[in-house]
């Protein structure tokens, strides 16, 4: 069947079966992609290399709440019937440990720096949720869209093939609707799947780019029936109505700017362990540090970039002390950066409503609850910074 091309793809939506999905994965593997997708390991659903649909979390769902994550069997055989796990795609686009360069002293004593080879992995991400897709866009703006570009991130990003899966249900800690990042992905992907479980187990496939169309063409997909397209939209509408959390983003930047001395920060800091889990699981947190090392002879040196967290005392260390010494100041830094200063820095919110920080906080601190509490106890004008130069 011939297909018309629209903006990135211009291809009409199609439908594939599970076998078709396997052909899709095989096609990606043949094209040299490292196929990364969800799989069950250690009683969680994580993103790792997968070979076929047999590796997907068939029939599993996740139960998430503040400080709680469990897997539970579903009553059906859905392949993507869960929301998210502790991983995000950040660990592949922005690896937690990366050698930036090596150096050696030349014979004349000069330092010779060699960049690490340009070859980066070519990833195909299977099952990117729309919140995580938005998170990739947020990190694009930080690493590629600003004054300087990160060459490693840019290269990984260029090579990545993205297969979105639109969520079939919402989790208790989800609030993508509040952050306007879902539950349905509109653009920015190569292919987008919506799993349909009514009747035959099938997937609606939307094409978002030319590479996506090329891959789809190898998969022997059937053109989608309008009924299937409606069913997919209905799945997303149902999902949107199930959101477990809400965050009122109206004027949130100004709200947080004028509430930097709100007593709520004292209250939350009595619970916060500054463990940094939230920054690890958050798909947009990007703070990093560098480690400069050398061998014992002092002839070879290396610089490594490491994922970091604003919850460490090191993060703001200067002149013999940390600027943000108290847990109160560090929690405030994380939350106000995520919801407020990020907007001034990059033009978007830093939060995509994935809910991971709520799920994976050992003491169940809930960013939506904290935002609501601050709104309810708004200090009004004069409580912090009301104009930022």
């Amino acid at each position: 069947m011939s297909v018309a091309r629209r903006h990135g793809g211009g291809t009409e939506p199609a439908v594939i079966s599970r076998a078709g999905l396997d052909r899709l994965l095989a096609s990606l593997t043949r094209r040299g992609f490292e196929v990364i997708g969800p799989t069950v390991r250690d009683r969680a659903i994580v993103y790792e290399e997968i070979a076929s649909t047999a590796d997907l979390p068939q029939g599993w769902t996740d139960e998430q709440e503040g400080g709680t994550y469990r897997l539970r069997r579903r009553e059906d055989e859905a392949l993507f019937g869960f929301n998210n796990g502790p991983n995000s795609w950040k660990s592949h686009l922005f690896p937690p440990r990366l050698t930036l360069w090596r150096a050696r002293r030349g014979e004349d004593g000069a330092m010779e720096f060699s960049e690490e080879p340009e070859e980066v992995p070519r990833y195909a991400f299977i099952g990117v949720r729309s919140c995580d897709l938005a998170a990739i866009g947020v990190q694009d703006r930080v690493f590629v869209g600003d004054s300087y570009a990160d060459p490693d991130y840019a290269a990984r990003r260029r090579e990545a093939f993205i297969v979105v899966v639109n969520c079939g249900k919402a989790g208790n800690t989800c609030f993508c609707v509040s952050m306007q990042t879902g539950p349905r992905a509109e653009s920015g992907f190569d292919l987008a799947l919506t799993e349909l479980l009514d009747g035959e187990h099938r997937f609606l496939v939307e094409v978002g780019s030319d590479p996506g169309a090329e891959v789809l063409a190898e998969v022997q997909a059937e053109p989608a029936d309008p009924v299937d397209e409606e069913a997919a939209v209905a799945v997303s509408d149902e999902c949107a109505s199930q959101m477990g959390r809400e965050l009122d983003t109206d004027g949130i930047k100004e709200l947080l700017y004028r509430n930097l001395e709100n007593e709520r920060w004292d209250e939350v800091s009595e619970r916060c362990l500054t463990c940094g889990n939230c920054t690890l699981v958050c798909p947009t947190c990007f703070c990093s540090t560098v480690e400069d090392t050398s061998d014992l002879a002092g002839e070879e040196a290396e610089r490594t970039r490491l994922l970091d967290s604003c919850f460490t005392m090191d993060h703001s260390y200067i002149h013999g002390g940390s600027v943000r010494a108290s847990p109160r100041s560090r929690y405030r830094q994380w939350m106000t950066h995520k919801l407020a200063t990020w907007i001034d820095q990059f033009g978007t919110s830093g939060c995509v409503g994935c809910g991971r920080c709520i799920t994976w906080c050992p003491v169940a601190i809930d960013i939506t609850e904290e935002a609501a509490a601050i709104r309810a106890t708004d200090l009004g004008e004069g409580g912090g910074i009301d104009q930022v130069g």
Binding site: M111, S147, Y148, S288, R305, D308, I318, V388, G389
Partner: protein, 276 residues
Amino acid sequence: MRDPMLPLSFRVAAKRRELADTWTLELEPDAGAHDRLGAFAPGQFAMLYAFGSGEVPISVSGGVGGEGPLVHTVRAVGAATRAICAAEPGDSVGVRGPFGNTWPIEEAEGGDVVVVAGGIGLAPLRPAIERLAASRERFGAVTLLYGARSPDEMLFTEELDSWRSAGIAVETIVDSAPAGWSGRVGLVTKLIDEAELSGGHTTALICGPEVMMRFVGAELVQRGVERSRIHISMERNMKCAIGHCGHCQLGPAFICKDGPVFTLAAIEPLMAVREL
């Protein structure tokens, strides 16, 4: 495009000990280097790398405009700075830069300029003072007020006289002095009375410890200088200097790329919040 995290190898061309723990290094690109760094402007900084030890942000303290060697004045306070200060002529130091924004010298033309330096804060201001001296006729009254801990902790003392000769009023004061000192003793704000401050047309450049910049800024504001014309150089923990590591944030500002030079109007509300 060159990876912004990759240093260039520079050689120490000359080295001078300024104080017991502070040295000025003159750096020139290594002979074999293919790449060049852009010219540094007053107020900007470089990330200086000591092989295997670490990297630190150091403001340029001379040699701006691309003529002559790159000059940095470094205080040895940790592993990386101690290693950099231990480098002798002929040794290599890695350099990345220039980073950050500049002292607004052109914008100050036509009015009075008061430069207030505290301690090692005179080093990042020196390139600006040299520019003011070189184009002296473009400015009204130009004053340098320099506060140091003690007489033997004053930097660039020979240059103070050459700046006086160039038509800059230079006043110095120390926090404490040994017996025999016949100069002034007191807080640097005491010197502000000396400066000709024509209120609305004065530009102020301040550099020193953050608390010093705060109280000097407050004093200047009380004397009628506009907050939008008072410029200070901020400092925070930096790992990348390119706005990616997240460490140097102060509220929404990245000190490395939105600064390090900020107007008091912009930065005062952020400095007023503790532990921001």
